[in-house]
């Protein structure tokens, strides 16, 4: 907000630990393994290494939904030459900002054009061109562009591209090697196929995820969506798998591309573990179970003194370690639990009432501990545990900072941007960030000149006619 007066600390507020601090007290032998991993995987070494997908060019025509952007981000992080192709007035996502607050957008140094942070985060390593597909001339240009592309991603309403003469059926005649991917919420065919404008969390609601997330009614809860456009992330990742598989098949076997379809809902349906099997088994409809688990105990998040705290003890040895830890300050609680013979094996603790008992007692211990203190106690017994982190804590977590899960990138155009780095760490050909994003149509000249052999005056003409 314009009247924001608070001082923003520069990141990191607390210095990133040094290797000496991290491995202090370890013997040389004990240090050897993590240090050898570090040497192989450190992101600071990325630019000395090749990239997996440098031979691949991706044209991302998706707009208005993050699924296409996410899918192309997976490929661009791994080295694909990725061109984000937007309508002349930009992908609507480009202008979206939380609660409509323009002051939360950032501007680039050259054009002073604002960009929403959500969009910027998924513009990584991509160039931006514009093209008006509503115009015949634009569609003709697209046909010329795809000759130079290996992958095309689009999310227009089902059949729109086909009707325009630029669908899979037509483009495969122009470029038989093209891998054509359609992405959306529920699909481009079938009785409930995508309507224009369907956006995540449509998929989250349509696949059973929302019904199963959140506290149960009996705890005062209601079905809950993910804060993120999570289904788009899952569907986009799944589609990236399909695209890579199609590329492998093309280059090893067939020499031809194919049609890939990925939807946010089916990505999540795939990973809704036993929902479908359980229904088929005896008609069970998976209930919401809040922050507890239907199939494992102890495995839950419960409130504690300063927030919410996770304790995991999936097998019986950990059960004793957890209560031993609790017993250090609350021997009454330890006795209560260990005296109950009915709770000794994990399967016996799964019935709901046993879970209520377990977690009420655990919470009675946790209520006197902060997340950090509870974690210290439990980690001393090697029990997997940790607090629910808020964003500032995520940004400052020493482990994340040390490994570069969170990092600040100094972009030529956008200045310093804190961002979530690619999790593709590898010895030989890792993923990486090369630039954070581009203003709308920033690369028109370069791409149209380079790929289509147009001259600068041709591009000027296209601009004048509103095609780009």
């Amino acid at each position: 907000m314009a009247d924001m007066k608070h001082k923003v600390l520069s990141w990191p507020a607390v210095p990133i630990p040094t290797p000496d601090e991290v491995y202090a007290g370890l013997t040389d032998q004990a240090k050897e393994y993590p240090l050898s991993l570090e040497a192989q995987l450190r992101q600071s070494e990325n630019f000395k290494k090749p990239e997996c997908l440098t031979t691949i060019r991706v044209l991302d025509l998706s707009k208005g939904m993050i699924i296409g952007n996410w899918c192309s981000s997976m490929l661009s992080e791994l080295g694909a030459d990725t061109i984000k192709c937007e309508p002349p007035d930009g992908d609507p996502l480009r202008w979206q900002t939380p609660f409509g607050r323009k002051e939360y957008m950032v501007k680039d140094a050259e054009t002073d054009e604002p960009i929403g942070l959500h969009f910027l985060h998924e513009m990584r390593n991509k160039q931006s061109i514009t093209l008006d597909l509503e115009k015949e001339e634009g569609r003709e240009l697209l046909k010329k562009l795809v000759v130079h592309c290996d992958v095309l991603i689009e999310n227009y309403p089902p059949g729109q591209f086909d009707a325009w003469g630029i669908g899979y059926r037509q483009l495969k005649e122009i470029n038989p090697r093209l891998v054509y991917a359609w992405v959306g919420q529920k699909g481009q065919w079938g009785p409930s196929k995508d309507k224009p404008g369907n956006l995540d969390p449509t998929a989250q609601a349509a696949c059973g995820f929302v019904h199963g997330t959140g506290l149960p009614k009996e705890f005062g809860g209601r079905p809950t969506r993910s804060a993120m456009w999570m289904a788009d992330h899952v569907g986009g990742t799944a589609t990236a798998m399909g695209i890579l598989a199609a590329l492998i098949y093309r280059d090893k076997v067939s020499g031809k591309g194919q049609f890939v379809e990925g939807t946010a809902a089916e990505g999540v349906i795939r990973i809704l573990d036993y929902n479908w099997a359980w229904y088929g088994f005896d008609g069970s409809i998976r209930p919401r179970y809040g922050n507890w688990d239907l199939a494992i105990n102890i495995y839950a998040v419960n409130p504690c003194k300063d927030g919410y705290f996770m304790v995991g003890g999936g097998h019986d040895r950990l059960w004793y370690r957890i209560w031993r830890t609790v017993g250090q300050t609350r021997s009454d609680l330890e006795d209560e639990m260990l005296d109950d013979k009915s709770l000794r094996v994990v399967t016996a603790r799964l019935p709901h009432l046993k879970q209520v008992k377990t977690y009420t007692i655990l919470a009675d211990w946790q209520k006197d501990f902060s997340r950090a203190d509870a974690m210290r106690e439990l980690l001393a017994q090697q029990v997997a545990s940790g607090g629910v982190n808020y964003i500032d804590e995520v940004a400052e977590d020493p482990h994340f900072k040390y490994r570069g899960h969170v990092d600040e990138f100094e972009d030529r155009l956008y200045g310093k941007v804190l961002y979530g780095t690619t999790p593709f760490l590898a010895h030989k050909a890792p993923g990486r960030l090369k630039w954070i994003g581009r203003p709308l149509g920033y690369d028109n000249e370069e791409i149209y000149l380079k790929l289509l052999g147009l001259g600068p005056t041709d591009v000027a003409g296209l601009k004048k006619r509103g095609v780009v």
């Binding site: 088994f281 019935p351 709901h352």
Partner: protein, 140 residues
């Protein structure tokens, strides 16, 4: 359970032990973490006014009148036997009309009535092919 009488008030935390019948009433953390109102003993229906802020009992339990605003999530009587039932504790989340048993279900047919290997087997059931086994299930 631990009691802290230093302040003159019996502090019991999230496990409320009934002063009359010694039933342990488990006031589960999500509904009770920040709660002010009446709850009751699952066994003898004695009403207690309690107030929790961030899981800490700031007042109560004291005898109260009226009706329970929130029932315990679970309770065990003085012998450790479960106290359950409608109006005693809050209902459990369910996935079917019939309550969860917590026991391994024995099923030989799927929801749509086709053979499914969902029940305990004996050594001799494994002799021969799975095709034979499934053919046998068809006869069940």
């Amino acid at each position: 359970m631990a009691t802290d009488t230093s302040s003159g008030v019996i502090k019991q935390g999230l496990v409320l032990t009934c002063t009359k019948c010694s039933t342990k009433n488990f006031l589960d953390p999500y509904p009770f973490w920040n709660f002010s109102g009446n709850t009751k003993c699952a066994t003898c229906d004695t009403l207690y006014a309690v107030k929790f802020v961030k899981g800490q009992q700031v007042s109560g339990p004291t005898a109260s009148t009226g009706k329970a605003d929130l029932l315990p999530g679970y309770a065990e009587d003085k012998n450790g036997a479960p106290v359950t039932g409608e109006g005693k504790i809050r209902p459990a989340p369910q996935s079917r009309p019939d309550p969860f048993t917590g026991q391994q279900k024995q099923v030989t047919k799927s929801l749509r009535g086709k053979p499914l290997s969902g029940s305990r087997l004996k050594k001799e059931d494994l002799v021969g092919s799975r095709a034979r086994f499934i053919a046998d299930l068809h006869k069940v």
